[in-house]
Symmetry: C2
Subunit: 232 residues, 2 copies
């Protein structure tokens, strides 16, 4: 078989994931990719018909796994509570899932960093793919779970809430990454960040945990205060 272990292909994907993540699509040349993966330059075009497609494959390789993980966590939390999950559990599933995937250093966790980059940039490399197959299903599942947790909410209200929560998640992911990038490049302006937000000094695990707690509590409190449950 030719599909099992090419070696070259996988090394290329790994190196590409790492480099694209840390420096962005444009700033990484295929020569750097080839060097990092220890393959010939032509291998990129031989195995993946071009740089663009390599980028797409990097994403495709991970995103199904990650998407399904969150979808599963959301589904699990709703069926465990027989269709009426606690609001905080729903939010936590989503927030924790995204944060830990995005900030963990295991290779499998690099996807969300790429996605945040992709969404906030307008590089349009695979926008349709992202939106239709990755972002939209997760949003919809999150939306549905939240409506099961708080049936008194309208769809539009849930839309606003979901946007607020995702916005917070991405922002905290972005802060962490920015601080690490600045730190890695010994840019002294990292001190300005750390001073303004000392939580960034902590190790990843604690940052993920504290951020998850904050976003969950902050958002749940807002929801219940704005749209109080009607206890019949």
């Amino acid at each position: 078989m030719n599909e099992d272990r090419s070696g070259t292909k996988d090394r290329l994907l790994d190196a590409a994931e790492d480099l694209f993540l840390h420096h962005g699509y444009e700033k990484v040349s295929i020569r750097e990719l080839a060097l990092a993966a220890d393959v010939n330059i032509a291998a990129i075009n031989y195995h993946f018909q071009g740089k663009d497609n390599l980028y797409r494959e990097v994403i495709k390789r991970r995103f199904t796994v990650q998407r399904d993980r969150i979808l599963l966590a959301l589904e699990e939390v709703t069926i465990r509570h027989a269709g009426s999950p606690p609001l905080e559990d729903v939010i936590r599933s989503m927030v924790q899932g995204q944060l830990s995937d995005a900030l963990s250093d295991i290779p499998a966790g690099n996807l969300f960093k790429l996605i945040v980059r992709e969404v906030h940039t307008e590089s349009r490399h695979s926008t349709a793919l992202f939106l239709r197959e990755m972002v939209a299903p997760v949003f919809r599942a999150f939306s549905d779970a939240m409506m099961q947790a708080r049936p008194n909410l309208t769809q539009e209200q849930v839309d606003w809430i979901v946007a607020s929560i995702i916005g917070q998640v991405h922002h905290f992911i972005g802060r962490w990454q920015k601080s690490r990038v600045l730190f890695d490049s010994s840019d002294d302006s990292v001190e300005v960040m750390l001073e303004a937000f000392p939580v960034l000094r902590q190790p990843v695990e604690q940052y993920v945990q504290q951020t998850t707690d904050h976003i969950t509590q902050f958002s749940a409190a807002a929801i219940d205060a704005l749209y109080p449950e009607v206890t019949s």
Copy 2:
């Protein structure tokens, strides 16, 4: 005098602001810039000593104005209420200021789009400048105003809250821009966005207004629910 109207310099700055905003720093070549501004290619290096510096100048031209506008609004709201401004007013000053600046189509409003791009990308073109002179002062002023509105909050609590609010603001800015970019490029995946968040169908002014209201109310509700005021 040589400083008043060069013509070329200003046309270059205007074109650069527009192009950098819409396509990003890397994707815009100096030849495109020169064509759009209707100047010779060499003019970029003659007037700005390189592409990098032109980018920096584009930002410098706007950012002081914008920063001062928000700082003023925050200051004004605190002195009007004699040092204890209503929480919602403080949040609204910040949110409204950023949103309207970022999403209005007047040229003066392009800065924040560039900033969001700059912060969420790691292009590092003027990170220190941004953080130290633009982001940090605004964050600090926002932070201070909020502590005046709710003296019972600790600095750390305020830090978390500020991050949550800014995160929402940037996310809603990003959504709007993304939808417009997709729309402009007739990418049909814009439909996926609009379907998931129909508010994006509205004109700018209403989007800014509704988003401001939502973020303000959502965040204020969370704050008061999480950290209730002690009424002595």
